[in-house]
Each structure stands twice: as structure tokens, then as C-alpha cells.
């Protein structure tokens, strides 16, 4: 759940988050599985500092599916890679915030404890199944490797478990396919292998970084159904990163919309599609082609380009492209506030309440 950020910490969100105020976590009825607070990641390049992630906060409960949507370069991937501290460093660096997973701050863990969580309690599925499997290792060996890194099983037992996982994700004749190399699988099958690998240590949270982007539409649908099915069977929480609002609608419980390293809107999935409040979200939804539209209707686009994240931004990052922007938008970045319960928007003139400015 997104919590309203008190206006006092607005300054902190705009600059770096060295002095952010810890929020009252005790108010929630059920403690979240993953609680990200004011996460800020910067890349120190030769051209200057790239503010890839500017203090994002969200939480995921047990068994919940959170979708993070946004266009390329909005910080979706950096956001989830930061959770497991997988950002390449240098140049990347997590400069502030906290990531609490079941009460432990992942940013303060030592390397050994973090390794136990990676692939164990939290696992990741990557975008391109063509490159995320090692081409010279048999798929069974790769899954077995992962299982043995986290569970005290013999190679034989781990192998049996790998076969079981492969059959679970719908790979025919898994006992035979387990000894095949990745190139002997099609793209969709490879993504199934990746999912089998991600599920092999019964994680509580799966981070799926655009897992269907590289696949064609029918395979996409199969993968989405598979993840849905496994999620309901195993009670795993999922963070699903996508720029495909259609996929998200079928899968997610909550949606967070990212823009230029900020979360600009966050709401339950039905609420977001029915009553989008941020002009960027509205723009995104309007730009979807519709089946019931008249023939030869032009697709709507959001004018302009996303801002360059190099250096400090002033004001709302969407202001230059926003039809409703006023002076305050260009001067000050709005904080993410709950406009209605569980629906957070970062906009001075949000479409739900008519604005706070």
C-alpha cells in the first residue's frame, strides 16, 4: 500500500533522501512483505549524475501482485534491481531509502545474508529469455545449481526437484528436456524454464522484469496465465514490471505508474483504469488502441519526450508535457498523496479531487 507522504518530507523527495522521516509503520493492519521507502538510486557517470530513482515508496503484501508500469527509462528496472542491490556499481549507487523485507532492511544486510535472499526468498525473472539462460549449461544443471545454492539437497534430489518444477510450468516430457541446452528451447519455453528456476526455491516474492516483452502475443497470454495460476497456487507475491497496460490489467492487484524515476500514481488496478487521476496515466490509457474505436482513428500520443534524468529536475517532471501544467508545477514537485483511500497521486491538479494547489 502506498502511504501518504507527509508534506514535511516533500523537500526530501525533491533532493536526495538523506533526511527523510521514517513513517509510522504500525498503522497497517497486516505488515507488508516488502516495504520500499524513499528509495533513491543515482548513476555517477562522466557526464554527471543521473537521477534514475528519486525516492520511490511502495509496498507489496503477501500473495499480492503489484504492477509497475512506465515507459522506457522511467526507472522501473532500476527500481527492482535496487531491491536486491543488483545495480552495477560503479556507476550506480543506492544513495538513500530503506527496503524492508519481512522486517529486515536489505540495504543493511551483509553479502552472505543477501545472497541467501537472492534466488531464495526473492527471485527474479528477466526480460529476455534468449539471453538470461547460460547457453553452454544444460537447463537442468542451471536449475539444480540454483536449488543447491539455497537448499540442503543432494544433486540427485535437486535434479528431481528441477524436473518437477519443469513439469509444473508446463514443459512436456520434463525428464527428458532437463538435459537439453537452452538453444533447443523456443522463446516461450525458455521463459517457462526461467519461471521454473525462479520458483524452484519457493520464493515469497517474484520480481518479473518485463517477462513477456520479448515474446509474441499468444505466448505472452500463456505466460501471464501461468504466472497467475502459480501465484494463486503458491501464494507468492509478484512485482510485475511492464509497459503493457493490457497485460497489467489481467494480472495485477495494484498498479504503480512510474515517470522519470518517480511514482506518479498508485492505485488498485480497477480504480486506476476506471478513474485515472494523473495526467500522465490518463495519457497512457488514452494512447492505447481500442477495439471499439472507429476505423482509421488516429492513435493518441503524449507529446514531447521524457526528461533527461541527468542533473536535478525542477518542479514536476511531467510538467513540460502536461496540458494542465501551471506555475506551481514548474516550480515544485508534488508529493505522492492519497486522494482517496488507497489511491495515491503526485499531481498539483489531479483529476480526482480537482487539485490541491
Amino acid at each position: 500500500m502506498i502511504q501518504a507522504v507527509p508534506p514535511a518530507s516533500m523537500e526530501a523527495m525533491e533532493t536526495s533522501v538523506s533526511n527523510f522521516a521514517p513513517l509510522e509503520g504500525g498503522l497497517q493492519p497486516e505488515p507488508a512483505l516488502l516495504e520500499v521507502r524513499d528509495l533513491t538510486t543515482k548513476f555517477y557517470t562522466v557526464d554527471g549524475v543521473v537521477n534514475a530513482l528519486n525516492g520511490i515508496s511502495y509496498s507489496v503484501r503477501k500473495g499480492e501482485c503489484l504492477a509497475i508500469v512506465g515507459e522506457s527509462g522511467s526507472g522501473k528496472t532500476v527500481g527492482v534491481l535496487s531491491i536486491l542491490r543488483l545495480i552495477q556499481s560503479p556507476p550506480g549507487k543506492i544513495v538513500g531509502g530503506s527496503i524492508s523485507f519481512k522486517g529486515t532492511d536489505l540495504l543493511k544486510l551483509d553479502d552472505n545474508a543477501l545472497r541467501d535472499i537472492r534466488g531464495g526468498a526473492i527471485s527474479v525473472i528477466f526480460q529476455d529469455p534468449m539471453t538470461s539462460l547460460n547457453p553452454v549449461m544444460r537447463v537442468g544443471a542451471q536449475i539444480t545449481e540454483n536449488i543447491m545454492a539455497h537448499e540442503a539437497l543432494t544433486r540427485r534430489q535437486a535434479r528431481d526437484k528441477a524436473i518437477e518444477m519443469l513439469s509444473r510450468v508446463g514443459i512436456p516430457t520434463p525428464a527428458k528436456r532437463v538435459d537439453d541446452y537452452p538453444h533447443q528451447f523456443s522463446g516461450g519455453m525458455r521463459q517457462r524454464v526461467m519461471i521454473a528456476m525462479a520458483l524452484s526455491c519457493s520464493p515469497q516474492l517474484i520480481i518479473a522484469d518485463e517477462p513477456t516483452t520479448a515474446l509474441d502475443v499468444t505466448i505472452q497470454a500463456q505466460i501471464v496465465e501461468l504466472v497467475k495460476k502459480l501465484q494463486s497456487e503458491l501464494g507468492t507475491a509478484v512485482i510485475w514490471i511492464s509497459h503493457d497496460l493490457g497485460v497489467v490489467a489481467r494480472l495485477a492487484d495494484r498498479v504503480a505508474v512510474m515517470y522519470a524515476g518517480h511514482i506518479v500514481e498508485s492505485a488498485p488496478v480497477d480504480e486506476l483504469y476506471a478513474r485515472p487521476a494523473h495526467p500522465y496515466t490518463i495519457g497512457l490509457l488514452n494512447s492505447l488502441p481500442r477495439l471499439d474505436a472507429k476505423v482509421k482513428t488516429k492513435l493518441q500520443a503524449i507529446g514531447g519526450l521524457p526528461p533527461n534524468l541527468l542533473g536535478e529536475l525542477r518542479g514536476c517532471p511531467f510538467a513540460p508535457r502536461c496540458a494542465f501544467a501551471t506555475d506551481i508545477c514548474r516550480a515544485q514537485n508534488p508529493a505522492l498523496l492519497e486522494v482517496t483511500p488507497s489511491h495515491g497521486v503526485a499531481c498539483w491538479h489531479d483529476r480526482l479531487t480537482g487539485g490541491r494547489a
Binding site: 534466488g119 527471485s123 538470461s132 540454483n146 545454492a149 539455497h150 519455453m189 526461467m194
Partner: protein, 307 residues
């Protein structure tokens, strides 16, 4: 046969357990026999290896025995009264026996020096490619320093200080030959380490050294094997040239290189002194290169179905 064959028809016929060592060996053999060049190379190398191991039993004469009265005898087939298969050299030693004994020196030098330089080069390449930064800087500068010395000159200097001998020769060739391994492995690692599967391995909680040796290293075996086969060959030649220059193995020890060196003064009148050694060097080197090339293809799982 299709590489994208995702649903083989004979699924039931295939065993569910991983291929045992025995069936793997059978596979290797049947794949080897499909390539004529590789088969011939293996036969040549087997002959050389057997000659090296069984030299005392195979050689008809003592390769060290000087018989000045028998010096420069032509080979048996050109002289019906001869008792020397390939003739004798300027000191009356049997050339055929010396060729057989020479295989020992050539193989030992070639293989051991490659093992030394391969291990050093691959380790340095892996570390500097994977970690980059200062580690990379230090190793690559060492590489540059190494490259700036001509190998032969360096070897001459070291051998002059340490004295000649087979062990020193191996050490010198091993310690000077790692640069190509280091450079190539480094560049391969740099291109592979940004692949998504390495990130996926990190995300799966694997340790750095496991990622390095289990995920990355198997991906770069093929260039290493190719360089390895070429450097076995070039080490055999280097041994020959160092022995030729007089700083390799001691003159009495039969080696193909020293035989070439000894025979060159007589090349106009007694070409049988140099031809057998030259043929032995070229055949061995060629066989190793062909086999290395075949091995590279064999080890690439993507080529498994078409080879």
C-alpha cells in the same frame, strides 16, 4: 536436422538419466570418426605419444651412441647395405632412434608449457575481465611489459642465467606464453559478463567465484582450446629454435630442434639429417592444430547436431 527441434519424436527411446561417462565416450568417438581430418590427426598424435612413451623399446639403436665410422650413412632404402632406417648423423647416431626419442622432448615441452601458460593466462584474463578497474589495469600493464620483450630474447636471457635444461625450457616458455590467453579471455569475459544470464545468476544468489568459474568460464573454452592447440604447436617450434640457438635442451639430448640445427651444415650433401625432424615437427603441429579445431566445434553445444 533442425536446431530448433523442440519436440523430438523419439522421446520415449531416450534415457531419462544423464548420459553416463560410457555413452559420452561412445558419442565422442562416433563424432570423431565422422571427420576424416580429425581421425588422421588423432592417429598421428597417437603414434607420436606412443613413440614418446615407448621410446626405449621402439628405437632400434642407442640414440646417444657415437659411431664415427658410421657417420653420415644414408637411409636404408637408398643403400641396400645400410642397417639404419633413416641413416645416421654427423656423429654416426641413428636418426630414426633420435626422432623417436625427440618426440619425448617435443611433447613434454609443448604440453607442459601450454599447461603453465594456459592456467596463468586464463586466471589473469578471468580476473581482469570480470573485476575490471584496478585489477584490470595492473594485469594489463604486466601484459604490456611481457609483450614488450621479444620472447626469444627473454628466453635467452633467462636460460643464460639459469643454465639450459628441459625443466628451465618449459618454465621459460610457460611463463612467457600466457599473454594471448590473458588478452583473449579478458575480452571474452568482458563481453559475456554483461549478458543477462550473469545478472540472473547474481539475482539467484550465486557467489562471485561460482559465477566466474561455472557460468562464465565454460562460455570461453573454445577460444582457449584453439589458442592452446596453436601454442602447443608454436612451443614445439620454439623449443626447436631455442635448441637450435644452443640454449634449449643440452646438445646430447635428442630433440627435433637440435637435430635440425645439427643437420643444417650438411643439408647440401646429406639432407636425411634434417628432413625427418622437419617432417616430424610439421606433422605433429598440423595434427594438433586440426584436432584443436575439431575439439572447438565438438565443445560448442550449438554445433552438436550439425557436426
Amino acid at each position: 536436422m533442425s536446431l530448433l527441434d523442440t519436440e523430438p519424436k523419439d522421446v520415449a527411446a531416450l534415457p531419462a538419466v544423464p548420459a553416463t561417462l560410457r555413452t559420452k565416450r561412445r558419442q565422442l568417438l562416433s563424432r570423431l570418426l565422422k571427420s576424416k581430418a580429425a581421425t588422421i590427426s588423432v592417429i598421428i598424435l597417437l603414434i607420436v605419444v606412443v613413440a614418446a612413451i615407448a621410446a626405449p623399446w621402439l628405437s632400434p639403436h642407442d640414440p646417444f651412441a657415437n659411431k664415427l665410422i658410421q657417420r653420415l650413412k644414408p637411409p636404408m632404402f637408398s643403400n641396400s647395405s645400410g642397417i639404419y632406417l633413416l641413416g645416421t648423423d654427423s656423429l654416426g647416431r641413428d636418426i630414426f632412434s633420435r626422432i623417436i626419442y625427440g618426440a619425448r622432448v617435443s611433447l613434454t615441452v609443448g604440453v607442459s608449457a601450454v599447461a603453465i601458460s594456459g592456467v596463468i593466462g586464463v586466471l589473469i584474463g578471468l580476473l581482469s575481465g570480470y573485476f575490471g578497474g584496478k585489477v584490470d589495469d595492473v594485469f594489463m600493464r604486466i601484459c604490456d611489459v611481457q609483450l614488450s620483450f621479444p620472447t626469444i630474447l627473454l628466453a635467452l636471457t633467462i636460460m643464460a642465467v639459469l643454465g639450459s635444461g628441459l625443466d628451465k625450457l618449459i618454465l621459460v616458455l610457460g611463463l612467457t606464453g600466457w599473454v594471448p590467453y590473458g588478452r583473449i579471455v579478458r575480452s571474452q569475459v568482458m563481453s559475456i559478463k554483461n549478458d543477462e544470464f550473469v545478472l540472473a545468476a547474481r539475482a539467484a544468489g550465486e557467489r562471485q567465484w561460482r559465477i566466474l568459474f561455472q557460468q562464465i568460464l565454460p562460455n570461453i573454452w573454445s577460444p582457449v582450446i584453439v589458442i592452446g592447440s596453436f601454442t602447443i604447436a608454436s612451443n614445439i617450434v620454439s623449443e626447436a629454435s631455442l635448441s637450435f640457438l644452443g640454449v634449449g635442451v643440452p646438445p646430447s639430448v635428442p630433440s627435433w630442434g637440435t637435430m635440425l640445427a645439427d643437420g643444417r651444415e650438411y643439408i647440401g650433401v646429406a639432407d636425411w639429417l634434417t628432413i625427418p625432424a622437419g617432417v616430424a615437427i610439421s606433422l605433429t603441429v598440423l595434427a594438433i592444430n586440426i584436432l584443436g579445431d575439431w575439439l572447438r566445434d565438438y565443445l560448442d553445444p550449438r554445433l552438436k547436431n550439425i557436426l
